[in-house]
């Protein structure tokens, strides 16, 4: 277990920023522009993979750029959790880019250069969050992500897009400035440190009231995690084009929210403090538990595919928060694993939603009768993605939910077991009937769907890639578990 001084983390972050610059410069030549993205993504992925063996041995890669405040630097540290999250975001960047090309080019969509530019910046910011060594650095990239995704959310630039964008910023910027920032400053003022450390930064005997207040401020302050009642920005942001919803609102943005909460809970509060102070653990679990159930119930009532997926995302994010809130080894491991598992599942679903829309213009679930026979490939991918989110084998979602359930039994919050199970049933209830109707019932409006056929290759291939990913994750979950295990080893002393 060594700490290695390395510039690689900075390179990883810079790769996509450089790509963003090239994208802006090469805007006039679309093919060249998009090949930049692929080159950058591959380089980025290669760099990340080169860090993996060391990280799995327990090494930490560190780099300090400069001191910003006494004892707080702009600094990066790559641990297993950060690397895993970065790997997921970057590897999903590739299929999403292919999909974007397939979707935007035939539509001759405006401002494609801006779209890819902001996308690259957003990926840089997400990886920056993943590699942050302290809360200030994390906050910096967190805000950069909010700002760089705003043009993506408002891509269509019509009234709905502007309204959605307004909501997006109000919630994300508002909560982070009004809650997370003061909480961070209070932590700094009380402890003089913002570094993520095993055991947290608080001295023994810090007043529980203060801790509770700070905890709540952090939980709601990182509103990207979608904890109720600060969740409505997510359905609002569904006005964005499908690839944006897919990568950003199923993977990068929302996962940055839960990632930040994981970091705060494990690195600032500390798992021991959480486990030994029942009120703290209970607050996290109750808030996440309520969100989990309520979001799943709301999802049942949504007819628009994308909003159903959005509410499903809100619920699944709370799985992760609840898992960490349990403050047990397997709970945290399960939460860590749920990041890649849900990411692959949900991105498949979002891409499918985009593909379905492109194939036949359908946006609502009630229009889907018999669609499975028209576009079998897309619908099969949709089925696999929903299995992954529900948590059924042979998909990755099964593995993470397994650990989460184990974690809830080992903890002091055994009611969480029931919550997890109920929610999984609800997940099944809002996905499976949809798939059933698509394959087994006859089209409601035969004439209208006659022309429907599989969308172009550029759209279908990425959908199939991610769907395959869901299945592969199940078989390679052992490898992923090593990441989770290393992270737990680092932050849980027992």
């Amino acid at each position: 277990m060594d700490t290695i001084h390395s510039f690689t983390p900075v390179w990883v972050i810079l790769t996509s920023s450089v790509a963003a610059l090239l994208i802006a410069l090469l805007g006039r030549w679309p093919n060249l522009r998009e090949s930049c993205i692929f080159v950058a993504a591959v380089i980025k992925l290669g760099l990340l993979l080169s860090l993996a063996p060391g990280v799995l041995d327990g090494d930490l890669y560190e780099f300090e750029v400069m001191e910003l405040l006494p004892n707080v630097s702009l600094a990066f540290r790559v641990d297993a959790l950060g690397l895993l999250f970065a790997l997921v975001s970057v590897s999903l960047w590739i299929p999403t880019t292919i999909f974007s090309m397939g979707l935007l080019r035939p539509l001759k969509s405006h401002a494609q250069t801006r779209f890819f530019f902001c996308f690259a910046i957003a990926i840089s910011s997400a990886v920056g969050v993943a590699f942050s060594a302290n809360l200030l650095t994390l906050f910096l990239f967190y805000e950069a992500l909010s700002l760089s995704t705003y043009p993506l959310v408002t891509h269509h630039q019509d009234d709905d897009a502007i309204k959605g964008g307004r909501k997006y910023l109000t919630y994300l910027l508002g909560t982070s400035v009004a809650l997370a920032l003061p909480a961070m400053i209070i932590v700094y003022q009380k402890t003089g440190s913002l570094d993520f450390a095993n055991g947290g930064v608080f001295a023994d005997g810090t007043s529980t009231t203060l801790l509770v207040v700070l905890l709540v401020m952090f939980l709601f302050g990182f509103a990207k995690a979608g904890l109720m009642p600060f969740h409505t920005w997510l359905p609002g942001a569904m006005v964005a084009p499908a690839p944006v919803s897919a990568l950003l609102h199923a993977v990068a943005v929302v996962k940055v929210g839960v990632f930040s909460i994981i970091r705060v809970l494990t690195g600032i509060f500390g798992v021991d403090l959480l486990a030994n102070t029942p009120s703290l653990s209970t607050i996290v679990c109750v808030l996440a538990g309520i969100t989990l159930i309520v979001a799943s119930l709301i999802a049942l009532t949504q007819d628009n595919i994308k909003s159903r997926l959005a509410y499903s995302t809100i619920g699944q994010l709370s799985y992760i928060i609840l898992g960490v809130g349990l403050a047990t080894k397997s709970g945290i491991a399960g939460a860590t694993l749920h990041i890649p598992m849900h990411a692959f599942g949900k991105i498949t679903l979002f891409l499918c939603a985009g593909a379905i829309y492109q194939a036949c213009g359908a946006k609502c679930i009630s229009q889907m009768h018999g669609m499975g026979r028209k576009i079998p490939l897309t619908m099969t991918a949709f089925f696999i993605g929903s299995l992954c989110v529900i948590g059924l084998p042979p998909t990755g979602g099964f593995v993470s939910k397994w650990y989460l359930l184990t974690g809830s039994l080992n903890s002091g919050q055994q009611w969480a077991f029931a919550v997890f199970l109920t929610s999984s049933l609800l997940n099944a209830a809002y996905f499976l009937p949809f798939v059933y109707k698509a394959f087994f019932s006859s089209p409601s409006d035969e004439a209208k769907w006659e022309s429907a056929k599989e969308p172009p290759l550029l759209t279908v291939v990425p959908v199939l890639i991610t769907a395959m990913g869901c299945v592969l994750l199940f078989f390679f979950s052992g490898k992923l578990y090593q990441f989770a295990d290393k992270f737990v080893e680092l932050y849980v002393s027992k």
């Binding site: 400069m66 001191e67 910003l68 405040l69 006494p70 702009l74 001759k108 405006h110 401002a111 200030l136 906050f139 910096l140 805000e143 700002l147 705003y150 408002t154 630039q157 897009a161 502007i162 964008g165 307004r166 910023l169 910027l173 508002g174 400035v177 009004a178 920032l181 003061p182 400053i185 209070i186 700094y188 003022q189």
Partner: protein, 501 residues
């Protein structure tokens, strides 16, 4: 030579002002280069002083080397340069120089045919501001305060239409402020027999607290509050800076109020002392509530405005609340924040007014409704504008983030939660305004890249304006990244020693 640096800082713009006034009469073309030269000399000297003072400690300079320097009471004119002074001198002379470079085209169009004495006045204003920032004598401070004020009345009245009324209004308010200040100085002088700041700071702590001392303090405080447009004495500012010529506003807005804040800090912590401020248990909470009110009202009014310049003016009013509040928290992070914000806010306001100036130059005015498509017309200017607004909101790693950080830390340490809430509220209000402008200027326009939509021709501001604007904007980020250096080498020595031990 280095011994003479403190006076060179003021002499540069002062001589330039006098010469420019004469040449304006004989050869009008010469006055601009003269003023730029004067400001450049001043800036170079100030920059040198920063390093000298940071290494060797405060410098004292005796004007003309007269007066009995060894006597108990000093008669001669003293100029003091400590870390707080150098910080402000560099800020003032640097921003003034950059603004002078920036303003040329703006003055040529806005004040066509009338610009003869503009640069002389500008140089005189800067002389006054630098004088306030460097003098070691509270009466001389008053003199420089008036030099700066008189030249700013003229600079504002250079505008058209309502500018005269605004300037007159400012003149009445400004004179009242100056009177209050002078009256306060009178109290202090009668009680102690000296006007020298160093002398006073030695004498005042040895005396028993007296009514006269207190009355003097309050009068001086009220005087500088009027000058800095601290709520509720802010009424003159928005009209004055909005109706002034844009070039005047670009130099007045960032500097004039900030220098008054410096005067307040100097009076509070050098002439009087930290202990004295801490002893004012009745006043401290009131001032903090006033600061909160300044921030909240400034933010609220900025939301109701439809003119970009007006919005920026109300930003200034709320930012003044930041600094007064930070100073009156009277703890280390609070004061650090207030002093850091002096520099940061000067830079941010300057960048903001420069960007607005570019917009006004091309569009003729700055009503929000006129901004449609402005992002396509002037992409570089608007990029600078967005970064500046991000700094004002407090997005890391710009300087605005760090001043807010220190101020909130100070308020949390003192337990003044209403001030924390006000700071955050002000950030959010600025975010709303920024995105309102983005919506109007970018999103609500038929995108020219889509076929069939009308093209929006690019009409960027001239390079001579654009380069200073972009430079200032990049400076905001550089300043943010340099926070730790700035705080640890300069501001730490400017904060009263009792707080840093």
């Amino acid at each position: 030579m280095t011994g003479q640096l403190p006076i060179i800082v003021i002499l540069g713009p002062l001589l330039a002002a006098i010469l420019a006034a004469f040449t304006a009469w004989l050869r009008p073309k010469l006055s601009y280069p003269l003023v730029v030269l004067g400001l450049a000399i001043s800036f170079t000297a100030a920059l040198k002083l920063v390093f000298i003072v940071a290494d060797e400690g405060a410098k004292i300079y005796w004007l003309g080397n007269w007066g009995n320097q060894n006597h108990e009471f000093v008669v001669g004119i003293q100029i003091t340069v400590d870390n707080l002074n150098t910080l402000l001198l560099t800020t003032v002379s640097g921003i003034a120089l950059l603004t002078a470079l920036y303003a040329k085209r703006l003055v040529e169009t806005e004040l066509a045919g009338r610009q003869r004495y503009f640069y002389a006045l500008l140089s005189l204003l800067v002389t006054g501001l630098l004088g306030i920032s460097i003098t070691g004598d509270i009466f001389n401070l008053y003199v420089f305060l008036e030099i700066a004020a008189l030249s700013s009345y003229a600079l504002i009245a250079y505008g058209k239409g309502r500018a005269y009324m605004a300037s007159f209004n400012y003149l009445i308010m400004g004179t009242m402020g100056a009177c209050l200040y002078l009256l306060g100085v009178g109290f202090v002088f009668i009680k102690h027999g000296t006007l020298n700041i160093d002398n006073l700071s030695e004498i005042i702590p040895t005396l028993d607290p007296s009514q006269a001392l207190f009355v003097g303090f309050v009068l001086i405080l009220l005087g500088v509050w009027v000058k800095m447009a601290f709520f509720p004495f802010h009424g003159w500012l928005p009209n004055a800076y909005t109706h002034a010529p844009t070039a005047s506003a670009a130099v007045l807005a960032p500097l004039a109020t900030k220098v008054a804040v410096y005067a307040m800090l100097r009076i509070m912590f050098t002439v009087y002392s930290l202990d004295y401020i801490n002893g004012l248990t009745g006043i401290q909470p009131i001032v903090l509530y006033l600061s909160t009110a300044a921030i909240v009202m400034g933010s609220f009014f900025s939301l109701t405005q439809t003119n970009l310049k007006m919005i920026a003016c109300y930003f200034i009013i709320s930012e003044i609340g930041y600094m007064v509040g930070g100073a009156w928290l009277a703890n280390r992070p609070g004061l650090t924040g207030a002093m850091y914000h002096l520099v940061a806010d000067a830079a941010m306001t300057s960048a903001l007014f420069m960007a607005i100036g570019c917009i006004v130059y091309r569009l003729g005015q700055a009503q929000l409704d006129d901004l449609k498509g402005v992002f396509f017309k002037m992409p570089v200017t608007m990029a600078a504008f967005v970064v500046t607004m991000a700094a004002l909101i407090g997005v890391p790693p710009t300087c605005g983030f760090f001043s807010k950080w220190y101020l909130i830390q100070g308020a949390a340490e003192a337990g003044v939660w209403h001030f924390v809430a006000a700071l955050l509220l002000s950030s959010l209000v600025k975010a709303i305004i920024l995105f309102r402008i983005i919506e109007i200027g970018y999103n609500r326009v038929a995108h020219p890249a889509i076929e069939g939509n009308p093209a929006i021709p690019r009409n960027e501001a001239p390079l001579s304006m654009l380069i200073p604007t972009v430079a200032m904007t990049l400076g905001l980020i550089a300043l943010g990244l340099a926070t730790n250096t700035l705080v640890n080498t300069i501001i730490v020595n400017a904060v009263p020693a009792a707080l840093t031990q």
